[in-house]
């Protein structure tokens, strides 16, 4: 059986920056438990002698000449931002009161 508990789900949600509700945490605990039990099957054949594949078609690093290409203008880059000030993205406070 998997080790998925509500505490684990809450911790994962925190790492993934999703403010899950308590109901969502309860529901996901059950669902993830059964999914993880099922996908754990991969370990049956993943023996030490098998190499890992990260990419379907082997490719080496791809380089291009270091010359300026076409880039977005600041206005284009900012066009979809929820908030911006002059030529910059505007974010909420980085530090909370307790920091």
């Amino acid at each position: 059986m998997s080790e998925i508990t509500p505490e684990v789900v809450a911790h994962l949600a925190d790492l993934a920056r999703i403010a899950l509700t308590d109901d969502e945490i309860q529901k996901l605990t059950g669902e993830l438990g059964s999914i993880v039990d099922n996908v754990a099957k991969v370990s049956e054949v993943a023996t030490p002698d098998v190499e890992a594949t990260s990419h379907p078609i082997p490719l080496s690093n791809v380089f291009r000449p270091d010359v300026p290409g076409e880039t977005l203008t600041p206005a284009e880059a900012l066009a979809g931002a929820p908030e911006h000030a002059s030529d910059r993205f505007k974010v909420s406070a980085i530090l909370g009161e307790e920091q």
């Binding site: 099922n38 098998v50 890992a52 379907p56 078609i57």
Partner: protein
């Protein structure tokens, strides 16, 4: 129905080139059809306001004597996962509602350069996570064959659009079957090219090592024509292959000629062609197609792919892992939604509130699952093992392709299921992808085309062919050959038997 909307893209291209019809007329016929059937189908998230103007500009260039590319003037629908500068691109998510990207995806740019006329953006499961479009934040698309059933997913919008004659051509994206499974359940044609065959630049990423953009159409020749337009190397995608590709149009035309199957070795993948979960009507149509191939000179052999049974497990580790990383960019800063908690908050709290409100249930499920699979202490057991399974699946494909030219299986284990049938149990939805996932894990190309209607429910069944990486040409050859034989037997295209909407 107007002949302008039931015609194939190849026929429309010929009529446009001969001056028998204008692009504006063809485009208007499709916009009329969209207006008439969208209330029941819901294929489109956005219909372009510039389509007629684009079509008229093509007509003007043709009238001025300009030599235009083959598909110039033919309308096309675009899956909402692809960035378009003139239409919102939401990937079916609330978090991107109304977002208009500052650049075009490369396949979209190529459509425009070739004079195709974008009709609009098609519906999909949120961020392409799903097999039914039920996870679209904007409501599901309905299957034109039966409005109470799913059109497949994630690209149900593109498949339903072509099946309901709302577009002759569409673009899709296929990470674990999102082009091929919707094609199967709607009686249309879909191709997942070799990984790297079509640029992913501007395709909103789900799982970068699996995603591939491809054509969604009603005929194999139309898919080939569209693939010829969108394929090829793109320096903006570092995984784009530098190969020079043959003409897929020519491959399809050769395949449709009599005798083209002689000597072709077709391998039936034992693990994907029966057993638990396969509907009898799907298997009956599948076997009939094999008999037809054999009667026309193909050699049918059975091949084993023993590690395919681990494919779904590996996929549902690799995909969530890559997705959890790719979707980290939806951070409430650079684009999309921002939700500020009551009384304000730090950037982290704003981010968490935004993602809680902006993402739907399946996206949250997979991000959390991916975060788990990548956690310290679990990485080797889950993600590491899944990558090893990927190696084993590639080895199964290599061994099979030493014996045969193409592999074959049903495209999906069942016909279209009813809404709500699989949403209560995420695992049951995942198992639906067992026939399509192996190709993505190995990067090989696959095509789904209609094989007939299942006896028990009268709904479309799809047959899938797979070829070695870089041998997409073979899919168009064998696909066009079988399609010609089946259409001849049916006395016309299968989609003409779909109920009137």
């Amino acid at each position: 129905m107007s002949e302008l909307i039931t015609a194939t893209a190849a026929d429309l291209a010929a009529k446009l080139a001969a001056g028998e019809v204008s692009s504006a007329e063809v485009t208007r016929a499709h916009l009329d059809r969209i207006a008439a059937v969208e209330p029941s189908v819901n294929s489109y998230l956005h219909v372009s306001e510039q389509a007629i103007a684009t079509a008229e500009a093509i007509d003007a260039r043709r009238a001025a004597g300009e030599q235009l590319p083959t598909l110039a003037g033919v309308p096309v629908a675009i899956k909402d996962v692809l960035c378009t500068v003139d239409m919102p691109s939401t990937a079916g998510s609330r978090i991107l509602e109304g977002w208009v990207p500052p650049y075009d995806a490369t396949p979209v740019r190529k459509l425009r350069e070739n004079g195709l006329v974008p009709l609009g953006k098609t519906n999909m499961d949120e961020f392409a996570m799903g097999s039914s479009t039920e996870y679209s934040a904007y409501g599901p698309t309905r299957n034109p064959w039966d409005l109470e059933r799913i059109p497949g997913g994630s690209g149900g919008g593109s498949a339903a659009a072509v099946a309901a004659f709302e577009a002759p051509l569409a673009l899709g994206s296929d990470t674990g079957g999102s082009i091929r499974q919707p094609a199967a359940v709607t009686g249309s044609v879909g191709v997942k090219p070799t990984y790297g065959g079509v640029s992913r630049y501007g395709a909103i990423a789900l799982a970068s090592s699996l995603d591939q953009v491809g054509p969604v159409t009603r005929t194999v020749l139309d898919a080939a024509l569209l693939h010829d337009v969108i394929g090829g190397h793109d320096p903006r995608d570092s995984t784009s292959l530098t190969d020079v590709w043959p003409s897929f149009e020519q491959a399809a035309r050769r395949g449709a000629q009599e005798g083209s199957l002689k000597g072709l070795k077709v391998g039936v993948v034992k693990e994907l062609a029966g057993g638990e979960g396969f509907q009898p009507g799907v298997l009956a149509r599948f076997r009939e197609s094999l008999e037809l191939l054999e009667q026309n000179g193909a050699e049918i052999v059975e091949v084993a792919a023993p590690n395919f049974e681990y494919a779904i497990s590996a996929y549902y580790l690799i995909l969530p892992a890559e997705a959890s990383s790719n979707l980290a960019k939806f951070d409430s800063v650079r684009f999309g939604l921002r939700v500020t908690p009551q009384g304000g908050g730090t950037v982290e709290q704003v981010m968490a509130a935004t993602r809680e409100q902006g993402f739907g249930p399946e996206v949250k499920r997979r991000i959390i699952l991916g975060t788990y699979a990548l956690s310290a202490g679990y990485y080797d057991a889950y993600y590491g093992s899944a990558q090893k399974v990927r190696t084993l699946i590639q080895q199964d494909f290599s061994a099979a392709f030493e014996k045969v030219d193409v592999l074959v299986s049903p495209s999906a284990p069942t016909t279209a299921f009813k809404f709500g049938e699989k949403t209560a149990d995420p695992l049951s939805m995942y198992l639906n992808d067992l026939t399509t996932i192996p190709a993505n894990l190995a990067g090989v190309p696959g095509i789904s085309l209609p094989a007939g209607l299942a006896d028990e429910d009268g709904l479309p069944v799809g047959i899938q062919f797979m070829a070695p990486a870089r041998a997409d040409e073979r899919l168009y050859h064998v696909g066009a050959a079988l399609e010609a034989l089946l259409v001849d037997r049916w006395g016309g295209p299968l989609l003409h038997r779909a109920p009137q909407l």
